[in-house]
Amino acid sequence: MAAPATAGRIALRHRLADRGMDRTLLLLVPAVVFIVALFIYPFVYGLQLSFQPQPGSETVQRYGSGPFADYHAFFADSYLRNTIWTTLKLSLPAGLFNVIASVPIAYRMRGRFRGKRTITTILVVPITLGTVLTAEGLLAFMGPTGWLNRLLLDVGIVDHPVRFTHNYWGVLFSLIISGFPFAFLLTLSYLSGIDPTLERAAATMGAGWWQRFRFITLPLLAPGLAITFCLTFVLAFSVFPSAVMVGDPSGTTRVISIAAFHAAFEQYDYSMASAIAMIMGAVELIVVGLVLGWRATLYRGATGGKG
């Protein structure tokens, strides 16, 4: 009587294991518990807040108090709506640049050579700067009487100080200074997991360095790069302090987080702020989803480097 039942249970276990469900999934439990306990409730709270326009706010006066009034207000107002585009215009190039620039440099850093550790450290150091120092530094260094302009003037390349800050470029610079080391560190580490023998094998098949990189290293690195891009993109997308400090926060660098900040901390319209934040999350999710979807089509298995 009991035997077939046990057997059935075991067979079920085999079948589940075949679909990837086994004890390993227990490892997810702490993280899931953590997220559910500390994030899901606050998130749901914020989400439902975004559907409850604040009584008396401008939104309600204009668009009523329906659940989507805040979203409606956001998309109806071009000054708000355009922040999405402004933000993407900053974060996509910043994310792409950081990833693309870190690849060749990290690629150069494979192998052993003297001073490698020092160079690595120096390249990673900007990660420690923080937004404030970066912004203050950019303002001082690239400001109208900063060293850079001074140099350009003295050398005679320009005859008026060039304005590098308080515009799109200032913010982009700061996103690169803080994002590049981040991308570099990740890329370098992902690269270290790829077995150099594979490139050697490709070399014996007549592949030059570019082809080896293009066909062997890059595809094996791509899943890591996808994640790296997602993270730098997300960091760049939520840029706030530097968009205000070295940017042009009312104009060309009025990013979406400034709009959210404005709603939350100047107008104290938390439901509007939540709505903007949700829109922010949704836009990011679309970009990240596209990238991760692409990533899912890549080879993601062992790359020999660790085994």
Binding site: R163, V244, P249, G251, R254, F265, E266
Partner: protein, 375 residues
Amino acid sequence: GGGAKDLTPANVPDSPKNPVTLNIIDVAGNLQLTKGMIDEFVKSHPKVIKKVTYTNATAPELPGKIKAQQSAGQVQIGLVLTGTDALSAGIDQNLWVKTDDYASRLGNPNYQAPAQKMQELAEGHGVEVVYYPSGPLIEYNPKTVSKPPATAEELLAWAKAHPKKFQYARPANSGPGRTFLMGLPYILGDSNPKDPKAGWSKTWSYLQELTKYVDYYPSKTSETMSNLANGSADIIATTTGWDINPRALGQVPAGDKVAYLKGMHWVTDAQYAVVPRGVSADVLSADLQLIKWMLTPQQQAKAYDDGYFYPGPAVNGVTVQMAPQKSQQVIQQFGRPEYDQWIPKFPTETSLPAKEQVAAFDQWDRTVGSGKVKK
């Protein structure tokens, strides 16, 4: 604030049962002026406050934090020192104890007349502790500007003649910037200086004209100061405090000068002490004693400081001579005698209520700062 249990004057003792530990959070830079007063109180009243902790924070995020504590019934902040921004946000969200209920315990502060008007902005939910007339003033480099503009029109003409040389910081991020913005309607004679949406047509068209000759709007006042110092700007917007203190600190050459525009009204500013709802009766009792102490003339004299909030005291009858020695020295060296004439000479106006201020900033962002105006 759902979880905050309300105290009534009846169940707040005159003096705390046990000496309290008071957590003070300052979101306005107010401690620079008042820390000395508080420290002295703690020293002389160990039975009331056994220990005080100070935290500095930025104003915008403060209401959220208090809200979180109140919703959880866990209010840990005993006293908040704030400017008008967080004050009014807190009033809107019903975060503050109604101090008017305890008016008898605070005595009757002998506010100066304009300070009294500023106190009204608190709507009974806070107590003004320092006051200054603020601005708008313009500060200029006498080496490059021989004759400062005396009217708004002259300023515009000067800016046109010297493009990129006039600067004021983005109002949302800057005291002098917002004072300049709020002062213009008076100077230009707008229909309703208290209604940025409907009553500021002259101001808005003036600013849109002016912006053509402005290079950019820094996000911090101090940047306009360094630009003035390094010569990339020749005239900037300022206030009394922002004139004296940076020169004292060495941010701006000591020799730079200030001027006012014709039709000047002071747009006054003040800072307040407020108590979050939900504090214990003991803490509230200690707070009330402390605030009362801070409003005594002897203590108020400390508000002269280094000219940061010049003059500073909110109550009558406080002179520089009562201020600490160091204060007197700084004011002596960097203060301006003309202020003593100007302050009584021009009418005073309270700054805009927070809501209108935010609306004005928003409008400024959209129409002036956004760069939509062709330069």
